[in-house]
Symmetry: C2
Subunit: 359 residues, 2 copies
DNA sequence: GCGAGTTAGTAACTCGTGTCACTCATACTA
DNA sequence: TAGTATGAGTGACACGAGTTACTAACTCGC
């Protein structure tokens, strides 16, 4: 297609006056072969001069590895948020993987349950390892691939699986959120979930909420719990419903920033002042969480770090190393803004590794 | 690494009782070879039964194409926005490319000016074509790759280049924004750029602003122009400066939503009501443009369509087809929200293909 | 029954690199 | 001097598929 004749290792060998084998040894720093510095330099010069780049396909064919890792995106319901989140994750993966000479093959799949959704990627030896973002329990290919001992790391939780998994510690994050509200003096704290409880993340965030209350000796009032569905609208509705309660909560933990935006809108429309009449804390710390009125206190997801650690694990798996810790949980970071009260106005009681927003 | 023995076409041939050549012919639907249906079925069954997937490397080596296309991200200054935007673009590319059997190799590069930044991807025949997002004029590899007649499509503008380019029509978009304000009756309209004028996009948006005013016979007042730098803070400062003018504008076109968020904050802090005392219109229509107070009227960037058209062009280039239109401009779409006034309250004068926000 | 034309299928070469096993000097040892 | 290391480098095969040029068998017309 390009019309350009490819420079091969034979050309380099010819120019350097050595055999092709020697060229290969020099360029790959073969540990066994002894090559005198003088020859080495001659080969390197020749390669440089000709602008030689080894053919990737030939190299893969011979060496049995591609230096590609696959990133499979099974986009979940919260698209909007997933977008920006995933780009950060990708960036983290890239950061770790590039210095080792790997490339990223991105694959999005609409229907993971299709029998041929992505197994071809693995079987055709397109990639050396696979990263699955948003794994699903009804994915039948994952077990098969795992059974073939193909390196796989999941970004997200998949219960009852012994695959390597990297995820955010949703329970601890939710706990931290509620503890922050408790530390500010709130006792009547409501909860709006990010999504339905079929999602592990939603379940875990609810669990963290309950746990924090229990630990603090605050009774868990079921009537203060509402469910969102990842959308702004669901947050609006949930908050409206909470406002109709005979005894209003003084604070609400919304397990998703986007849903929290809806809640904020509902509060504004109802003329309820945030944070004086109602403190609001979100989750995810989406990029524009500090742009709304009032700027939203939230829990920052370590997206880049998720990508990095997952990539490190995957590289180990590819190298055949043993993984000691198959379930990694990364901590969220509490970012305090104005929606929970101006810092310092109330009792400021540093409960966790909380950081002021410095964007 | 995986320990699993790969199924080869020889295995399939053996099982089907034919030669390897026949297997290849059947599986690739070779147009020349005549294969009776009965044999065809036998081969297909055998392949199916063994779970045969052709080895990608071997296939690439023999056929001289990889079925991979590279997407190079040269992240620009407006990172925050780029993230979500790029994911949309990727999605569009994927949509077009996947059905044709192509995969996406994502590569981010921090320093494009490095002599070896990404040319290896091309030279090593890792990919069949390249898409460059955010191309830069000081990129020295691009001309070299182009000279080798390697298929390349740019996402963005690169003046003085005969490479294929797909971009948003920033001039027309800006024009539409200002025309909307004019149609609402505004005459004193300020401008805040998204970034410094070294960026083509910034220059074009300014040009569109001036063009719209000129066409409408409104004199262009230089004192109403301010420059942002992609950040919220720059928008805040720019708007403050505009508010200090002896004769305030009644509307402002901010050539970036993020910068516009800053402007909105400045207006709120100054107690200026939007849109009654000051109409504000943004550009980009970032996902949370409808989440701020008041929801921001903006121009929607067709991110997915950008990816799609770029992908279509790249596929044509790879196939060796001639490209008639090397400079494609996609139109933005005016999304009217509350920051320019409730629709219908003033004279509603449909100026362009404006659509109500239906998110 | 014979050449021409078609059908069905294959042997053998190619793609470019990695790597094992082996050679040929030269240097060192006893 | 014979024998053995060691250093420097190569020949040849493997990797798995695409593809060209060819053959063998079979059909048809006369």
């Amino acid at each position: 297609m390009t019309g350009q004749k490819q420079v091969t290792s034979s050309d380099v060998a010819k120019l350097a006056g050595v055999s092709r084998t020697t060229v290969s040894f020099v360029l790959n720093n073969a540990p066994n072969a002894q090559i005198p510095e003088e020859t080495r330099q001659r080969v390197l010069m020749a390669a440089q001069q000709l602008g030689y780049y080894p053919n990737a396909a030939a190299r893969s064919l011979a060496s049995q590895h591609t230096n590609n890792i696959g990133v499979l995106l099974c986009q979940s319901a919260d698209r909007l948020f997933a977008d920006v989140f995933l780009m950060e994750v990708l960036s983290g993966i890239h950061q770790v993987i590039r210095p080792k000479g790997y490339h990223i093959l991105v694959e999005a799949v609409e229907d993971v349950t299709a029998p041929d959704a992505y197994i071809g990627l693995v079987r055709s030896r397109h990639i050396d390892g696979l990263m699955v973002s948003g794994p699903r329990a009804d994915d039948t290919q994952l077990p098969r691939i795992h059974a073939e001992r193909f390196p796989v790391v999941l970004l997200g939780r998949l219960p009852n699986s012994d695959l390597c998994q990297v995820d955010v510690d949703n329970v601890r994050g939710a706990r931290a959120a509620v503890e922050h509200l408790l530390a500010l003096g709130h006792r009547r704290i409501a909860f709006i979930s990010n999504g339905p409880l079929v999602y592990t993340a939603s379940r875990d965030r609810l669990r963290g909420y309950v746990a924090a209350l229990t630990t603090a000796g605050v009774p868990h009032d079921e009537s203060l719990v509402r469910y969102g569905n990842f959308s702004r609208a669901s947050g609006y509705a949930a908050m409206q419903s909470l406002l109709e309660l005979p005894e209003r909560p003084t604070a609400v933990f919304v397990a998703s920033d986007v849903v929290a935006f809806g809640a904020l809108a509902a509060l504004r429309d109802a003329g309820v002042h945030v944070p004086d009449e109602m403190a609001v804390i979100g989750f995810d710390d989406v990029p524009l969480a500090d742009q709304v009125t009032p700027p939203l206190t939230s829990l920052h997801l370590p997206a880049r770090e998720l990508g990095q650690t997952a990539a490190e694990i995957l590289l180990k798996l590819i190298a055949g190393e043993a993984i000691t810790n198959r379930l990694v949980s990364l901590d969220t970071r509490l970012v305090i803004r104005e929606s929970t009260g101006k810092p310092g106005t109330l009792q400021s009681q540093p409960d966790m590794a909380a950081s002021q927003d410095t964007r």
